[in-house]
C-alpha cells in the first residue's frame, strides 16, 4: 500500500491522532516526568528521583485510600454481578410486567453519581433517615449509622454504587440470556436438570464473555470513582472513605502538592493497566490469533 494513498482519510483522522498523542500519551508522560520533581503550587522541573513515590507509600492516608478502593472494588463488583445476574434471570422467567421491572431496575443508571450520592446521603442520614423510620416503627435497636461510622462508611458508598450500577449488569446479562439457544433449554429439561442448576452450571459459563466485559467495565470505573464519594461522604468521616482519586484531586487543587498528586495519579494509571492488560491481551491478541487459524 503506498504510504500516502488515503490522504483525505489521514486528514480526517488528524484530530484523533493529535488528541491521542498529546492528551492520552502526552499527559501520562507529563505526569510521570513531573512526579519525579518536588513541584508544589506550579510544575517546576526540579528532579528529586522517586522521593514522591516513597513519600506516597508512607502516607497513612494513601494506605486508607488503597484499602478503600479494594473494599469498594470488591463489594461493588461482586454486588453488581450477583444482583444484576439474579435480576436478569428473574426477568427472563417470562414474568408479568417485565418491561416495568426492567425500567425500575435500570433507571438509576441514568442518574449521575452526584445525584446518587446526594440521595443516599439523605436516605442514610443518621438523624432523619431510615434509622429514624425504623425507630418510629418501634425497632429501637435498629442502627444505620454507616455514614458517620469510620468502619462502615465505605459500605454505604458501595450500596449507593450498586443501586446505581446493578441495572447495567442486568441489561448486559439479559442480552446474553436472550441469545441462548432454545435447544439448550430443551435438552436440559429432557435431562431433568433443575432450573437453578442449569443456570449456575450451564448458562453462566456460556455467558462468560458478558461476565468478563461487565467485570472489566466495572473495574475500570472503580478506579475512577470520585463524584459519588465526594457527594456522599466527602471522603469522611475524617478521611475514612478517601480513595486514590480523591487523594490526587486534593493534592492538585487543595493542598498545592503537585509532585505528590502526579505520583499518586501515575500509580492509579499503572493499576488500571494491570487490570486491563490481561483482558486486552486476551481480547485483541489471543482471540484474533485463534480466529485466524
Amino acid at each position: 500500500m503506498p504510504l500516502f494513498r488515503n490522504i483525505a482519510s489521514m486528514i480526517a483522522l488528524l484530530p484523533m491522532i493529535v488528541i491521542s498523542l498529546t492528551v492520552f500519551v502526552g499527559c501520562i508522560i507529563y505526569s510521570f516526568v513531573y512526579s519525579l520533581t518536588n513541584s508544589k503550587l506550579i510544575p517546576v522541573f526540579n528532579y528529586i528521583g522517586f522521593d514522591q513515590y516513597e513519600r506516597l507509600f508512607k502516607q497513612r492516608k494513601w494506605d486508607v485510600a488503597v484499602e478503600n478502593i479494594f473494599i469498594y472494588g470488591f463489594v461493588f463488583t461482586i454486588g453488581c454481578l450477583i444482583i444484576g445476574f439474579l435480576l436478569a434471570v428473574l426477568i427472563d422467567q417470562k414474568i408479568r410486567g417485565e418491561s416495568l421491572f426492567r425500567t425500575i431496575f435500570l433507571y438509576p443508571y441514568a442518574m449521575s453519581f452526584v445525584v446518587t450520592g446526594l440521595v443516599w446521603k439523605w436516605v442514610l442520614n443518621p438523624t432523619f433517615g431510615l434509622e429514624n423510620s425504623m425507630h418510629m416503627w418501634g425497632f429501637a435497636w435498629f442502627e444505620l449509622d454507616w455514614l458517620v461510622n469510620r468502619d462502615l462508611a465505605i459500605y454505604a458508598v458501595c450500596i449507593a454504587a450498586v443501586w446505581q450500577g446493578a441495572g447495567f449488569v442486568m441489561v448486559l446479562m439479559l442480552a446474553g440470556l436472550r441469545g441462548i439457544d432454545e435447544d439448550i433449554w430443551k435438552s436440559l429439561s429432557i435431562e431433568g436438570v433443575a432450573k437453578w442448576k442449569s443456570y449456575i452450571f450451564v448458562i453462566l459459563p456460556m455467558l462468560r464473555p458478558m461476565v468478563v466485559t461487565a467485570v472489566v467495565l466495572i473495574a475500570a470505573g472503580v478506579v475512577k470513582v470520585y463524584d459519588l464519594i465526594l457527594t456522599l461522604t466527602s471522603g469522611g468521616p475524617g478521611y475514612a472513605t478517601t480513595t486514590p482519586a480523591l487523594y490526587v484531586m486534593e493534592n492538585f487543587f487543595k493542598r498545592a502538592d503537585l509532585g505528590q498528586a502526579f505520583a499518586a495519579s501515575i500509580i492509579m494509571f499503572i493499576s488500571v493497566v494491570c487490570i486491563l492488560a490481561p483482558w486486552a491481551f486476551y481480547e485483541f491478541y489471543l482471540r484474533n490469533k485463534y480466529a485466524a487459524n
Partner: protein, 293 residues
C-alpha cells in the same frame, strides 16, 4: 392427528414462582425507595421533615421548595438557584454532543473504509484513552488548555468533552460502519465518489440508528458529568451537577432538605427524560458502549 397447542400456555402458580415474585418485588422496592424519598421529601415543609418519618407521605403538600431550588437557593454567596446551572449545562451539552458525535462519525467512517498504514495503531491508542483515569489527565490537560487560552471557557469544556467522548464514540461508529455491506462502498467508488461525497451522500443517510445511540450516550454522559465541569468549565459556565453539589454541600445555616431534594430531582430530570423517552435505544446504547473490541 397432531394437535398443535396454541394460545397462552397455562401458568401454574407454584411456591417457587411466588418466591420469585416476592424477591423481585423486594428488589423493586429497594430500587424505587430513593426516588420515592426524593419526591416526597421535596413536597414536605421543614417542620414535617424534622418531626416525621422519612418514608411517610406528606400530610399536606408544600411546593415552596421547588421554585426556591430553581431560582433562589444559595450557592455560597450567590442566590440564584439552579437556573443558571441548567442553562450552562445546555450550553455545554448541545455543542459538545454535536462536535463529539460529528467528529467520531468521521473517524469511524475513515477507519472502516479508508484504512491507511498506521490508522489502527492510532485507533488503538485512542481506545486506550478510554480507560485512563481522568485524574492522570486533568492537570496536564488544564495546562494545555491554559496555553491555548481556552481554560475556564465554554470552548474549553466543549473540547474536553469531545476528547473524552471520542474513544467510545469512534468505536461504536466504526463497528457500525464495518457492518455495512462493503459492496455499497465499492459501488460508490466506481461511480466516482470521493472521501467527502461518499460520506455525505451514502454514509450519513444510513447513520440514523447509530447516531441516535451515540447522542443518547453523550447527552446523559455530559449532563451527568461532574469532575470535568468542575475543573474546566470555569465559574461562569458551571454545569448543573456542580451547582447542585454547591447548593447541597455549602449550606450555611439550617440545612433545607426539601430544597436539596427538589434540586436533586431537577438535576436528574433531563437524563431521566431521555431514559424514559428513548427506552429501547438507551439499552442499545449501553450494549453498544459495553461491547468493546
Amino acid at each position: 392427528m397432531n394437535v398443535i397447542p396454541s394460545g397462552r400456555r397455562p401458568k401454574h402458580l407454584t411456591i417457587g414462582r411466588i418466591g420469585m415474585y416476592c424477591f423481585i418485588l423486594v428488589c423493586a422496592i429497594f430500587f424505587l425507595m430513593p426516588l420515592y424519598v426524593m419526591v416526597i421529601t421535596s413536597l414536605k415543609d421543614m417542620d414535617e421533615i424534622r418531626a416525621a418519618n422519612i418514608l411517610n407521605l406528606p400530610k399536606e403538600l408544600s411546593f415552596y421548595s421547588w421554585p426556591k431550588a430553581w431560582s433562589t437557593a444559595c450557592t455560597g454567596f450567590v442566590c440564584e438557584g439552579l437556573k443558571p446551572g441548567f442553562f450552562n449545562s445546555i450550553k455545554i451539552t448541545v455543542p459538545s454532543v454535536i462536535v463529539s458525535v460529528g467528529l467520531s462519525a468521521i473517524n469511524g467512517y475513515a477507519l472502516a473504509f479508508w484504512r491507511f498504514r498506521g490508522a489502527y495503531f492510532f485507533f488503538g491508542l485512542c481506545m486506550f484513552g478510554a480507560f485512563i483515569p481522568y485524574q492522570v489527565m486533568v492537570y496536564p490537560l488544564l495546562k494545555i488548555e491554559d496555553a491555548l487560552g481556552i481554560y475556564s471557557t465554554l470552548p474549553g469544556i466543549i473540547l474536553v468533552h469531545t476528547i473524552f467522548g471520542m474513544p467510545i464514540l469512534t468505536l461504536i461508529f466504526r463497528n457500525f460502519y464495518a457492518s455495512l455491506p462493503i459492496d455499497l462502498f465499492k459501488a460508490a467508488r466506481i461511480d466516482g465518489g470521493n472521501f467527502i461525497k461518499i460520506f455525505l451522500y451514502v454514509i450519513i443517510p444510513m447513520s440514523a440508528p447509530i447516531t441516535i445511540v451515540a447522542v443518547i450516550l453523550q447527552v446523559t454522559g455530559i449532563w451527568n458529568d461532574f469532575l470535568l465541569g468542575l475543573v474546566f468549565a470555569g465559574r461562569d459556565n458551571q454545569p448543573m451537577t456542580v451547582q447542585l453539589n454547591n447548593i447541597v454541600q455549602v449550606d450555611y445555616g439550617v440545612a433545607e432538605y426539601n430544597v436539596d431534594m427538589s434540586a436533586t430531582i431537577l438535576t436528574s430530570l433531563v437524563p431521566l427524560f431521555v431514559y424514559f423517552i428513548s427506552g429501547r435505544w438507551f439499552v442499545r446504547g449501553i450494549a453498544a458502549g459495553a461491547i468493546k473490541g
